[in-house]
């Protein structure tokens, strides 16, 4: 095996399988940005594994010319945990949906995040169950009329980023399927982060929930409805970049820049903040009351489960020597029959 890394292009990451999403589905763009991004990572394809659950989004691995497991509904983070635990050399992506990751799979997501395994979880949030043809999901807004909620949903939605921060995730970010540059950037940041990266991608399901994110993608209004956050920069948004977010105690508020209010009065983003409360507060900023933050909410360095696990193996071997089976068998009380 040669150790020189081949130069790869996005196309090299396409498998030989026909892509089978509905025409116009937001998943296509995420696939495209992923391939583009991976081609720049200098990691050979055979070192990459995509693990998914079940859902439209979860068909993703089939389309990648890497290793992949299309597992069962909701369990991809656990599959990835086993894999990464024994193969820390691999780059592991988990692809999941809002139903897969937050409904049936919520617990695995939570525990994987708290363990901080060095894997990347990309949650395609289309706020609907696509594959099963249009039931509401845990991220569907209250009142949503779907096949299973003809009089409107009555559950309060879960907010993926808030949950992740509730578990003290070390990397939390958000992007949108059609914002291709931003999405590629966020995916790259996720791949580069050491620890569990949790990325929510707003994804349009044009068949069962078309336009769910129009507020955030419509050129006419999106400058007012989203705010791209950057480390050490104030939260400014608006077509004319004339609006900002200021903290009033623990409550964020939208303010008009100019006049009495200067940039320095605004909330400055700090993705490295030790205390996750800032990230939590950002995750709570929601349309239509607030512009929704896009970008990296939090990125801190913490010990990783896979590292620690393998460190214990190493330490044990250093302290007690490489295990000798016959010696173990003969340790303690034994007796001989002659």
């Amino acid at each position: 095996m040669s150790t020189e890394l081949p130069v790869l292009t996005a196309n090299d990451f396409a498998s030989d399988q026909d892509v089978r999403w509905c025409p116009g589905c937001g998943d296509y763009s995420i696939l495209a940005q992923m391939k583009k991004m991976l081609a720049t990572l200098s990691i050979p394809r055979e070192k990459m594994v995509f693990v998914s659950g079940i859902g439209c989004s979860s068909r993703f691995p089939y389309y990648m010319n890497t290793y992949g497991i299309h597992s069962i509904h909701g369990r991809a983070p656990a599959v990835a945990t086993g894999l990464k635990s024994v193969r820390p050399d691999l780059t592991v992506f988990v692809i999941t949906g809002d139903g897969d990751g937050l409904s049936i799979g919520g617990n695995h997501l939570m525990h994987t995040i708290r363990r901080n395994l060095d894997i990347n979880i990309i949650l395609f949030n289309n706020r609907i169950y696509g594959l099963t043809k249009g039931q509401y999901s845990p991220t569907s807004p209250k009142g949503k009329v779907t096949k299973s909620t003809p009089m409107g949903a009555i559950d309060n939605p879960l907010h993926p980023l808030s949950i992740a921060i509730g578990c003290e995730a070390t990397f939390v970010a958000r992007s949108i399927d059609v914002h291709i540059k931003h999405l590629e950037m966020v995916l790259r940041r996720a791949a580069e982060h050491r620890g569990t990266s949790f990325v929510e991608v707003y994804q349009n399901c044009n068949v069962f929930n078309d336009g769910a994110f129009d507020y955030a993608t419509d050129r006419k209004i999106k400058d007012d409805t989203i705010v791209e956050i950057e480390h050490n920069k104030p939260l400014i948004f608006g077509k004319n970049r004339d609006k900002g977010i200021r903290l009033n105690g623990l409550e964020p508020e939208v303010v008009q820049l100019g006049g009495a209010i200067k940039e320095d009065d605004l909330l400055f983003h700090n993705e490295l903040a030790e205390e996750p409360s800032l990230a939590y507060l950002l995750s709570r900023m929601r349309h239509p009351e607030f512009p929704e933050p896009m970008g990296v909410l939090r990125a801190v360095d913490r010990p990783r489960y896979d590292d620690e696990l393998n460190k214990q193996i190493t330490v044990a071997r250093e302290q007690r020597g490489d295990g000798d089976m016959n010696a173990l068998f003969r340790s303690g009380e034994t007796w001989t029959v002659s």
């Binding site: 399988q17 597992s71 369990r75 894999l83 024994v86 193969r87 617990n107 302290q319 020597g321 029959v337």
Partner: protein, 630 residues
């Protein structure tokens, strides 16, 4: 490490001055409150007897509560030991000696004591409260109700307190040494050396010299009480057994499983991954394996059983020797995951330490009622090899066998044990790992050019290749949707589905091709075949031996391969007039046998959370095998 040559230790305590009666074997049970240290007493006596060269079999039995209120019936904990100068296979039906530390222990255990058996009782525990808790209206030690036993009432509490006087122990601490006093007495009764237990005290309480000294004193006080008091007129002796020569150690089923798995990992040049969620009586495997990180064992305590099995699948995809352990309710949760494992055709081991069901059932009791779940508990046509251990030591061998089958056929394998095997112990002839058969595992190497890797191509046994991530050129995607033959791509083609369903079934059936012939103990044909599986092995074998001694033409076949069955099983069964299937369930193996072979097997079924008594099986054999035939 300490090794002793059996029989050489008898001299280490001063010989008794009283007459010694030689017995073939004896069954002794320590019973007391769960705070009384009965498990420890039992284990020490076991170890000592093993070192003395006896064959041994044990049956610990503890309450469901962590610590039920002191003195209650629910809080009674027992440890039964059978030691013998002949080969034995069960911890014994009924007791030659019972040690009862309190009224509740007497109440719940007395019925197992043989008429005329030795009954050693801590008389000081028979106060009003104690007797009320045990439901005694009057003192059984005094009302003559124990007349048919050899009753020894021992003032254990004051004897113990006196023996530790001067060490500055609190009364509570002093009383905690009572189990050592009881042990000492039993050691004297059976002429056992105190040395192994003295060594144990040394190693365990080394850091607390006062406690160590207290326990030593209590132990010796018990021993001396036996020797000096007039109550005991004779002691007993059980000579060493003629076991297969070699070096032995005492092993519980769960420890044997853990070690067998580690050996299998080594023999296949693999590091091990265990994904598990704690559950009684399987947790001890997790505990045991998590101690051997220097053997490259990675244990992952998952958030639940589903995460445990799916992490196991992930690790198997990564190329590790991968397994998951649980018990009935946890296995129920793994059903969907097992289906995925079958579809992915990755090798792994799923271990079920069965317990009393259904639902939460009787978590600390034994049962064999998860066989159906093992064979059928998944959606779709979802075949999986199932094997079952028959005894504690057998777990070691079956771990190897499970991994051999898993890797040879690229399939998950279900290994069944049960609470009785898991916690019970017996001597294990220590294996030499260098002489054990290797388990060859290979992964296809890197591949260049455009030739696609074919993850679902197959060898002559229908196993697919185990190409693992990191290998250049083998990139492939697998999943739970039906797969195209050879390529492994998703396929909705009807004919392919039929083909793949058949393939998976044939592959598992193929496991039978390489199995050894079914062993049969007894006449080649006759009036009755006793067909058993799992932890009832010892009781069935012993019962058959007894029946044969009575002249009945009865044979015993014990199944370790539950799916597929050994190829010759049908022929064997047809050589007997009748087939009896004793099981700790309502007849699950019997159902499988009847369906497969149309043999009108009859059952002996018991679901009481405890193993068969030999006598139960023997009685059924006598009923079915007419004495006239021979």
């Amino acid at each position: 490490m300490s090794t002793t040559t059996a029989g050489a230790t008898a001299s280490s305590t001063s010989p008794t001055s009283k007459p010694v009666v030689t017995l073939k074997g004896a069954t002794v049970r320590f019973a007391g409150d769960s705070g009384d240290g009965m498990q420890l007493a039992g284990m020490q006596m076991t170890n000592t007897s093993a070192l003395a060269g006896n064959d041994i079999a044990t049956f610990p039995d503890f309450p469901a509560e962590i610590r039920a209120p002191r003195g209650t019936l629910a809080g009674v904990s027992g440890y039964q030991l059978h030691f013998s100068s002949t080969e034995i296979f069960t911890p014994g039906d009924d007791l030659n000696a019972l040690v009862a530390m309190n009224p509740a222990a007497l109440q719940t255990n007395l019925s197992d004591l043989h008429d005329g058996g030795l009954l050693v009782v801590n008389q000081e525990a028979f106060d009003e409260k104690g007797m009320r808790q045990a439901g005694y209206a009057q003192n059984p030690l005094e009302d003559g109700s124990l007349r048919k036993y050899q009753l020894f009432t021992v003032p254990m509490t004051s004897l113990t307190r006196r023996s530790v006087e001067g060490l500055g122990l609190s009364q509570k601490e002093a009383d905690r040494c009572r189990n050592f006093l009881a042990m000492g007495l039993v050691y004297w009764l059976y002429g056992r050396s105190l040395d192994p237990t003295l060594r144990y005290i040394e190693s365990k309480f080394g850091g607390k010299p006062d406690l160590a000294e207290a326990n030593v004193r209590a132990l010796k006080a018990g021993y001396n009480y036996g020797e000096t008091t007039d109550a005991f007129v004779s002691s007993y002796q059980v000579d060493r057994a003629r076991l297969k020569p070699g070096r032995y150690r005492n092993m519980t089923g769960n420890q044997a499983l853990a070690w067998g798995l580690m050996a299998a990992a080594k023999l296949s040049n693999k590091e091990m991954f265990l994904g598990s969620y704690p559950i009684t009586p399987a947790s001890d495997i997790l505990h045991e394996l998590s101690r051997y990180k220097n053997f490259g064992v990675r244990t992952f305590q998952a958030e639940d059983e589903i995460a445990a099995i799916t992490a196991t699948i992930g690790a198997a995809f990564g190329g590790a020797m991968s397994l998951t352990t649980s018990s009935g309710p946890g296995i129920a949760l793994k059903g969907e995951g097992m289906g995925l494992a079958v579809m992915l055709e990755l090798p792994m081991i799923i271990i079920n330490i069965q317990r009393g069901g259904p639902s939460t059932g009787l978590p600390t009791k034994t049962e064999q009622s998860d066989l159906f779940q093992a064979v059928f508990g998944r959606n779709g046509e979802c075949p999986m090899p199932v094997i079952a251990a028959r005894s504690p030591a057998d777990c070691f061998d079956l771990a190897h066998e499970a991994w051999r089958i898993a890797t040879r056929y690229m399939t998950p394998v279900m290994l069944l044990s049960d609470g009785y095997i898991a916690n019970g112990s017996e001597p294990w002839l220590i294996a030499d790992v260098d002489k054990m058969p290797k388990i060859p595992v290979s992964h296809p190497g890197p591949q260049e050019g455009d030739e696609p890797y074919l993850p679902y191509a197959r060898d002559e046994r229908l196993a697919r290749p185990w190409g693992i991530p990191g290998t250049p050129g083998l990139m492939h995607r697998i999943g739970g949707l039906e797969k195209q033959d050879i390529t492994g791509n998703v396929s909705y083609d009807p004919a392919n589905h039929q083909h793949m369903v058949n393939l998976r079934a044939r592959k598992v059936a193929n496991v039978a091709l390489e199995l050894p012939p079914q062993e049969v103990f007894g006449p080649e044909r006759g009036s009755l075949l006793v067909l058993s599986w799992g932890g009832t092995y010892g009781a069935c074998l012993t019962a058959v031996q007894a029946a044969q001694a009575e002249g009945l033409t009865v044979a015993h076949a014990h199944l370790r391969y539950m799916n597929p069955f050994p190829r010759d099983l049908g022929d064997i069964m047809r050589r007997y007039d009748r087939v009896l299937v004793p099981e700790l369930n309502l007849g699950q193996l019997r159902q499988l046998i009847r369906a497969e072979y149309l043999v009108p097997a009859v059952g002996l079924n018991k679901v009481e959370g405890k193993p068969f008594a030999v006598s139960e099986v023997l009685a059924k054999i006598r009923e079915l095998a007419p004495a006239s035939k021979s």
